[in-house]
């Protein structure tokens, strides 16, 4: 890969124009609750929450190159830990990070076993983790409510009631959608900032080195086991946060939610968004979480779709799934760098660079030979 100071990565890493852009973006994001109706605002909530989990998966799969289909398991751990802590009177200011910590600890526990394996073996063992998780969630009714599931607690901070009427400050009301929006936005921004910086530290560079060439990294003195484990723990932590918010926002969780399909959805998010990028998680989440909603919402105006119960045409759910699968295939075949890559290409700045592997938008110093 060529040494490059292309504007795309530097927009993110260099403070001057990048910081301005990010501040503007954040400000724009803060105005959304005032312009979106409840439907789109709740959609935005799901998008932001999923982006936190996708960012976690990007640390493990995108930056460190370890393919995991077990992400849903860690989301489940987060959701149930949050509920368990709240049951015991813990404040939401603690149970939200607590959910992340618990998931991280579980990651630390299963990591050494899982990470002995390479590539596809790892992918399949993490599928096993999802099945094991579902079995546990069904069989520990004291915490999980058993197969029927359980209600999830809502954050309550002073006047802010996330479960009921939301918050009114200085005459401006936010309903629960608005409250969750700002909570998820804050957590996502912090996570993105954290991952962005992490990838510039020694450990972060080590992770990318492991991804690019494991043996070379080991020869250069990277501790493979420790690096992979670190990535696994960070990834699980973010998955736990995401699970806690997702569970709380849905009011109710049951074991069937934390299945393989959810894991695949997160992999799809980072593929479509951009593997191994901070912004890819958010972009992919907008696409994968938002697209079905868009399609269903406007199904009346789309030809060939079934418009009401039992009519002819393709059922909307089938159409969304078709599109979902096609997106994954098309992105991988045509633009393996995902939406981030498309953005970069549209900017016209890196068109001269050849597409390489399905990884690395950020130039990693270890592969710039």
């Amino acid at each position: 890969m060529a040494v490059s100071t292309s504007p795309q990565p530097s927009r993110i890493s260099r403070p001057s124009p990048g910081t301005v852009a990010i501040v503007l973006l954040l400000l724009a994001a803060c105005t959304l609750p005032f312009v979106l109706d409840a439907f789109w605002l709740s959609t935005a909530d799901f998008i932001l929450i999923a982006a936190i989990g996708a960012l976690g998966l990007n640390v493990l799969t995108g930056y460190t190159g370890q393919v995991s289909l077990g992400h849903a398991f860690f989301l489940g751990i987060g959701a149930y830990t949050a509920a368990f802590l709240a049951d015991h009177g813990v404040n939401a200011a603690l149970w939200i990070p607590g959910a992340g910590v618990a998931a991280g600890l579980v990651g630390l526990l299963v990591g050494p076993t899982a990470l002995r394996l390479r590539g596809l073996y790892l992918a399949i063992v993490t599928i096993g983790l999802v099945f094991l998780g579902t079995h546990l969630f069904v069989n520990i009714p004291a915490i999980t409510g058993g197969p029927a599931g359980r209600a999830t607690p809502q954050p309550m901070w002073g006047p802010a009631d996330f479960g009921g009427n939301g918050l009114t400050i200085a005459g401006v009301s936010f309903d629960r959608n608005g409250c969750y929006y700002f909570l998820a936005l804050t957590l996502l921004a912090l996570s993105m900032w954290f991952v962005h910086n992490l990838m510039r530290t020694r450990s972060g560079r080590a992770m990318q080195a492991v991804r690019d060439r494991e043996i070379a990294a080991a020869l250069m003195g990277v501790n493979l086991a420790r690096t992979k484990l670190a990535a696994f723990v960070v990834s699980s932590f973010l998955a736990g946060l995401c699970g806690a918010l997702y569970g709380a926002f849905l009011f109710h969780v049951d074991p069937s939610q934390w299945g393989l399909l959810l894991s695949i959805q997160f992999v799809a998010i980072i593929i479509v968004g951009g593997i191994g990028t901070v912004w890819g998680a958010l972009l992919g989440s907008v696409f994968i979480t938002g697209l079905p909603t868009l399609l269903i919402h406007y199904s009346d105006s789309v030809p060939f779709l079934q418009h009401s119960a039992g009519q002819g045409g393709i059922a909307v759910s089938d159409a969304t799934n078709l599109l979902y699968g096609l997106l994954i295939v098309v992105f991988l075949v045509v633009e393996p760098r995902g939406l981030i890559g498309l953005v970069a290409r549209a900017a016209g700045s890196i068109t001269h660079r050849r597409r390489t592997a399905a990884v690395a938008v950020h130039p990693s110093p270890l592969v710039e030979e």
């Binding site: 073996y121 094991l132 070379a216 991988l332 592997a357």
Partner: protein
């Protein structure tokens, strides 16, 4: 004892189905170094095609089976030629995710084309929920046929693998794709054949899974997920491993299903995750499966 024999027989029959699915995985992995996550969708689509031909269009069952097999071979080959060739040389993860995408597409197509209602006539098989009674052990015809046909297919597969030019080419490709190319082996054709073969194997598995007393519905594709432990236990590259792994999984599954109610602390329905537990246990001892070899690493 009767219970044990009954579970043993059913375990072997179920194991044969898993062996067929696993063999499909292995065939593809040997040729192109990827795991085909769309194997479950192949199974689903194959079963629906046979069901449509036999039940809806009234074709004789053997003809319906042949039509289904041919269609699935073609679909497997076309997919390999149209999509996978374009991503050759990409990381395994990329290709695996493409097969996951394909899985989603096929499942949606099956739902759009055939609907979601359960098909009570299954694949229109002629065995009709009857069997042979040996004492109080019942050998259902569908299961007897599963075992016989699987044995025949395995035999054929090993003969093909051992004694034909394509078998030799496949093995060469499995060992080193670049070297095989250099030696003039038509690696692309070998790949395409492997995908066609996997389509056919999945269809056979689908037929046996939806033969009576079973009913065909779209959830049948998920059953392939239990074949993952089979290939891992056996080792991704070993056809013998796939068969052994499949049988182990089938037996573990049935025996736990039959007896786990006497071990209540394992929780409800422990049998459904027992194969994964066995898989993890095997991997702790042998990280590349019982019959697999660790790949050579180059620096």
């Amino acid at each position: 004892m009767t219970t044990f024999l009954q579970l043993l027989f059913n375990g072997v029959a179920l194991g044969c189905v898993y062996a067929l699915i696993a063999l499909g995985f292995t065939a593809i992995h040997r040729a192109s170094n990827v795991i085909n996550f769309a194997q479950g969708a192949f199974l689903l689509l194959g079963a629906y095609l046979v069901s449509t031909a036999a039940v809806d269009h009234g074709f004789p069952f053997p003809l319906a089976v042949i039509l289904g097999l041919v269609a699935m071979v073609v679909i497997g080959i076309v997919f390999q030629m149209l999509i996978l060739r374009r991503v050759q040389g990409q990381p395994a993860f990329t290709v695996v995710m493409i097969t996951i995408g394909l899985n989603i597409i096929i499942v949606a197509l099956v739902s759009a084309l055939f609907g979601n209602a359960e098909r009570g006539n299954g694949v229109g098989d002629p065995w009709g929920n009857t069997g042979v009674h040996l004492g109080s052990v019942v050998l259902l015809w569908v299961k007897v046929w599963t075992i016989v046909v699987t044995a025949a297919i395995l035999l054929g597969f090993f003969v093909f693998d051992r004694y034909t030019r394509y078998g030799l080419a496949t093995r060469a490709t499995a060992i080193d794709e670049e070297a095989a190319l250099a030696a003039g082996i038509p690696v692309r054709r070998v790949n395409a054949i492997a995908w066609g073969l996997a389509g056919a194997l999945a269809t056979v598995a689908g037929i046996f899974l939806s033969g009576s007393p079973n009913v065909l519905d779209p959830s049948i594709g998920d059953i392939a997920l239990l074949a993952f432990p089979a290939i891992i236990i056996g080792g991704l590259d070993s056809p013998i491993g796939a068969v052994v792994g499949g049988l182990v999984i089938g037996l573990v599954y049935e025996l736990f299903d039959g007896y786990s109610s006497s071990v209540p602390w394992l929780g409800h329905n422990f049998y459904s995750i027992a194969p994964y537990i066995v898989m993890i246990a095997v991997l702790l001892v042998k990280p590349y499966g019982l019959f697999g070899r660790p790949p050579a690493e180059r620096v």
